[in-house]
Structure formats: C-alpha cells, structure tokens
C-alpha cells in the first residue's frame, strides 16, 4: 500500500468509528446496572439484567413479538406483490409501462402525515384498529414501490434466453417466472426483502397512530413511550432499543453485499 492510501484508511476508520460512538454509548448503557449509570463512560460492572427484564415481562415481550410479526409478514406480502410487478416491468413492452414506473416513483414520495389521516378513519371503519394486520397492510404500501423498482433492475440483469428455452417447451410466462427466474434471482429477493424488513421494522408514524396497546404496538414505538412516563428509566429504554437494533444489524450483516447492490440499483437508474 502506498503511504497516501494508509493515511486515507486511517482517516476513514477514525471517521466511521467516531460516527458509530453514539450507538456504542447506547449499547453500554443497556449493559450497565442502574446503580452504576452515568458515572463513567465504560461502566465499572456489566449486567444482562436490563435485557433479561425485557424477556421476563410478558407484556414487554409481546411488543417485541409484534415487531417481528409485522416485519416478517410485510416482507412476505411485499415480495409477492413486488416480484410479480418487477418482472412485468422488466420483461414486457406495453404502452403504459412508463406510467407504472412513474407511479412507483411518486407513491414513494407521498407525505405519510396525509395518508395517516385516511388510514385512521378507514382502519377504524374496517374494525382493524389496534391490530397487527392493519400495520402489515399499511407498511406494505411503503415497501412495494421501491421493492418493485429494485427487483425490476435485478430481473433486467437475468438473460431472457434462460426463460425462452423453457417457453419453447410450452411453459407460459407465468410458469417460466415461478420455475426459472424467481429461483435464480434469490439474491435480489434477499436484497428487496432486507429493504422491506428494515422499513417495516422501523416504521413509526402508522404504528403510533393505529395502535394503542400491547396487542399490536411494536417495540419500536413502545421504546419511545419509556421517556418520561414516570421517571425515565434510561437503562431499560436502552435495553429495549438494543433489542430493536440487533435484528437489523444481523440481517444487514448477512445480506449487506446484495443489499448494497440492490439499493443503488433501485434508486439510481441503471
């Protein structure tokens, strides 16, 4: 390595680590026993008590379970809708195709504060207020447009010849899609799935408005209700926040390569 490259990496490492310090700070607080809190940056003693407290309380555990149920269901529903639409945009030529692409771009830009006014009324009328189903339905609205564009660009990269061979044997496009294209684009599905997971896992506004209690509220909303409820218990809040970021980091760690590819492909035109 040249000397300049070494300096470059030192500066880069310092910057990245500095920017990650706030997260480290929160993780340390989550692992600090309450009597040692805010005395030193790195606590004198560590404890898993704050984390085990979350799991020993059935109500708190339910918040966590809600987050998982909502995120996983949203991923499944989004991938089902977006892979079909992404394939349609990638493989067919039709007159109004550009309108669909435009629609996918525009629906990503709508102000959620306006939509939530309607959602509040509609969800109540449907009797879905304070249910996880309601959140799955509205979260999918956020993820489908971007996942569609992401999967379109991934299908664009898969040669048509593979499917055409199957279609000569009498397969319809739909069969070719399910039997051939979908299985070989698993990496792209992971990328889009990761995106949908992150979006629904972290969604706040809809969850805040459409739920009231443990039956449907996700942990990501409940954690903010810890603030100033009685006296803020910072170590309990940090423990809940830590549980909210562990799945995010693990999933990203597993899929980061395809995720980063899909992210830039979906947002920048290929």
């Amino acid at each position: 390595m040249r000397k300049q490259d070494i300096w470059n990496e030192v500066v880069l490492a310092a910057l990245v680590i500095l920017m990650l310090l706030p997260i480290l700070y929160m993780i340390l607080i989550a692992l600090t026993p309450s009597e040692c809190l805010f005395i030193t940056f790195i606590p004198r003693r560590f404890t898993l008590r704050n984390l085990s407290d979350v799991f020993s309380d059935p109500i708190t555990l339910r918040y966590y379970l809600n987050t998982w149920v909502i995120a996983i269901s949203t991923v499944a529903l989004s991938l089902a809708l977006a892979s079909l639409a992404g394939y349609g945009l990638s493989r067919f030529r039709f007159k109004i195709k550009n309108w669909f692409i435009l629609g996918a771009l525009v629906t990503q830009m709508l102000p959620m504060e306006v939509l939530v006014i309607s959602y509040f009324r509609i969800i109540q009328r449907l009797g879905l207020y304070n249910t996880r189903v309601a959140l799955i339905l509205v979260d999918t609205t956020i993820t489908v447009p971007f996942c569609t564009l992401m999967l379109k660009s991934i299908f664009d990269g898969i040669p048509r010849e593979i499917e055409e061979a199957a279609m000569i044997d009498g397969c319809s496009k739909m069969t070719a899609f399910f039997r051939i294209t979908l299985p070989i684009s698993w990496a792209g599905l992971f990328a889009a799935g990761t995106f949908a997971f992150l979006q629904s896992w972290g969604e706040y506004l809809y969850a805040l408005t459409l739920t009231t209690d443990y039956r449907a509220t996700p942990m990501t909303v409940q954690v903010t209700k810890m603030i100033g409820q009685y006296v803020t218990s910072w170590e309990a809040m940090a423990a809940m926040a830590l549980l909210c970021i562990v799945p995010v980091l693990l999933l990203f760690g597993l899929t980061q390569h395809v995720f980063l590819q899909g992210l830039t492909a979906g947002a920048v035109k290929e």
Binding site: E9, G202, I227
Partner: protein, 286 residues
C-alpha cells in the same frame, strides 16, 4: 420476442396495482377531499377552499414553514457534504473497503425511534454524554438543556437527523464513483491536473447527476420526516421545532380537526409535487 401472449403483462402488474390503488391512491384522494369540507354544527359541509384560506391566515404557519425549510435544507446539505467526503475516502482500493462501507451505513439502517432514543440520551441535560464531555473539557458555559432551550432545539434535532441520513449519500455517490472509468483520471493527470484539479474538473461534473437526484430524493424524504422531531421534542419548546409533519399531526390527532389537518396536508402535497416534478425530470432525463 414472441408477440404471443404479450397481454400477459396484465397478470403481473395487476396485484401490486390494485393493492396500491386501494391502500395509497384512494386514501390519498379521500384525505385531500376531506380538506374541502368542515364540520359546522355537527354536520359535514362543503366549504370549498375555506380551510386553505384559514391556512393562509394561520399565524403559526409561517414559522412552521421556516422551521421545515431550515430542518430540510441543513439536513440535506450536510448529508451531501459528509456523504461526498466519505465516498471519496471509500473509493480507494483496499482490502477492508467493503467493511468500512458496510459499517458507515449502520446509522441509516436504524429505526428512527432508536435514533431518537440514542440522541435523547446524548442531549440529556443532567448526565447526557454531550454535557458530560463539555464539562470535562472545562467548557461549562456551553452546558445547557439542548432540546429544552428554544435557541438550540431545532439545531440539535437537525444534527441527529444529519447523523442518520448521510450514509445513504455515501453509498449512492460511491456507486457513481466506481463507474467513472480510470483512464479519465489518467488523461487528466497527463494533462497536468493535480489532485484538486482532477476532483474539480473530472470527478465533480461526473457526480453531478447522482448528487442532484439523491439530494432531491432526500429533500422530499426529509420534508415529510415526522418521527425524529416528534419523539425528541413533539415540536416544542413553544413551537421552536414545529415542522409541517408535526403540525399536521397535532391538528389531526390532538385537536381532532381532521378537515383543517387535511388542508394543511394538501399544502404539503403541493410543495412535494413541485419537488417531485424536479426529481422526475432529472431522473428520467439522465
């Protein structure tokens, strides 16, 4: 391509289209429609532009718009600058580059509520990280209630938003940097350009499209971003951090004035349509 069964595209497009029509277009339309009605004496009456005229005369609205503008402008500007710097640092061959690229993205991946909790801890007035560090550095005159002081609240919230947003710029700009052919740099160097010359005359002009599209996308996202401000300050103290999203939300769900909230939302939509047209023109022309 075989022309046979070409209409099969409808089968592929139908599920997502119907879904978004029901869960996105219809709710948007019905919310906007709500803005043209009002409840007078227990009855819902069509009032035309009445709510919009009320908004023009709303003495709180100019301040809210200014806050929104400042929050959005400073967030996006620093997202772009920090992201550009990081992308340039990341665009050097090295074995660990993928590791740094992944690590730097982490703040962007976190749920907004977790980011808010982290920064509430940092800004916490008695024993938060920021005030502790400031008093250790013997700068006690800087110690303050960052989120409780109307003079610093908006800046503090904006800084936490900058922290969670710049990584997206970094990955987008990095992807564009990696597409610049290296012979362009060589040619510039042979012509005698130094490091700054190459950056100014080769790199920056080639990055222009990605910087423009990402900035516009980020402007739109930041302008409608509710979570962080709501969790950290609820728009307070005394409207110091009130932005359009929190104002619309309060009008709808604290004052239960859905009609006026919908009209305020209509104003947001108008602003975002203007921004979106700008974005789409660049996106579709590049």
């Amino acid at each position: 391509m075989r022309r046979l069964r070409e209409s099969e595209w409808i089968l592929f497009m139908l599920p997502a289209s119907i879904y978004l029509l029901m869960t996105c277009i219809y709710p948007l339309g019905s919310a906007l429609l709500l803005g043209f009605y009002d409840t007078i004496g227990g009855k819902t009456v069509f009032v035309g532009l009445g709510n919009y005229i009320k908004a023009i005369n709303d003495s709180a609205l100019p301040g809210v718009l200014v806050n929104s503008l400042a929050f959005t402008a400073f967030s996006v500007l620093f997202h772009m600058l920090i992201g550009l710097g990081l992308a340039l640092l990341l665009n050097v061959r090295g074995r660990r580059r993928n590791l740094w690229r992944a690590l730097q993205l982490i703040p962007w991946l976190l749920p907004a509520s977790v980011v808010s909790c982290i920064w509430l801890l940092i800004y916490q007035p008695q024993y938060g990280l920021l005030n502790t560090v400031l008093s250790k550095l013997r700068l006690p005159f800087l110690v303050r209630d960052w989120l409780g002081d109307p003079g610093t609240a908006l800046a503090s919230v904006t800084i936490s938003n900058i922290w969670m947003g710049y990584p997206f710029f970094a990955v987008m700009i990095l992807a564009a940097l990696q597409n610049i052919p290296s012979d362009l740099y060589e040619a510039a160097r042979i012509d005698g350009a130094g490091g700054w010359g190459v950056f100014w005359y080769i790199t920056l002009p080639l990055l222009r499209p990605v910087i423009l599209t990402t900035s516009l996308l980020d402007i739109i996202w930041t302008f409608r971003f509710f979570d962080l401000v709501w969790i950290m300050t609820k728009g307070g103290p005394i409207r110091a951090t009130e932005i359009m999203p929190t104002y619309v939300y309060k009008t709808a769900f604290y004052n239960f004035n859905f009609h006026y909230a919908a009209a305020l939302g209509g104003i947001m939509v108008l602003i975002m349509i203007c921004l979106s047209i700008g974005y789409l023109r660049i996106y579709l022309s590049e």
